[in-house]
């Protein structure tokens, strides 16, 4: 299980979830909020896409993505953060997008991230 109890604990804290795609001119960094991340299953996250147009173009060429999530004051007051590595795509007009719209009416799509690796990077 990649998105295990420790990762889920971090996601219960609010904070930015910053992620990077690989563009023709190098890395492109954007972010969402940890509270916007929906855990679809033990290795899949989904979150609303408002803008992310450059991110979507990059993903169409190279689906690889990395994300950092973190919590400075986690359970037992332990600072903790993870780098999630995997692939992602933007889905629009499908069931997941319709479901996401109920909570985020402004979302033009959903970013679906398939997590392949979880590394602890912050303490």
């Amino acid at each position: 299980m990649l998105l295990d109890a420790t990762v889920r604990d971090v996601l219960r804290a609010e904070g930015s979830a910053t992620f990077v795609t690989n563009g023709p001119d190098g890395p492109h960094l954007v972010a969402t909020w940890q509270s916007y991340l929906d855990i679809l299953d033990d290795e899949t996250l989904a979150f609303p896409a408002g803008g992310y147009r450059e991110t979507e173009e990059n993903l169409a060429r190279d689906a690889k993505v990395q994300m950092v999530i973190a919590d400075k004051h986690g359970p037992s007051e332990k600072a903790i953060g993870f780098r999630l590595t995997g692939t992602a795509e933007v889905q629009s007009g499908q069931a997941l997008h319709e479901r996401m719209k109920a909570k985020y009416p402004w979302c033009r799509g959903v970013v679906v991230m398939h997590v392949a690796k979880v590394e602890r990077i912050l303490g």
Copy 2:
């Protein structure tokens, strides 16, 4: 002034500060904490380097860096976040490193980031 009052307000909140370098195999994402960011002047940040060995190698080849800072519950309860774009280097053994060691005895160097652009990316 790039690191203006609004940016400084965000940095007063705790949270992860995630930054990316461009490596031979694509983007490499790491993070620090916003409270670890020292504002040297209106366009320069410094923060302790614990690991960051791959980051340092990447910076030696390509100094370009992007960072996201954010605060979900800013002044007036407004969610706000910024992408900082610029260049960075890791300094070790110099005055700034010695000064940083007093607060972070574990730091093997200091990342100095020269901010060239500030964009609001989260609301």
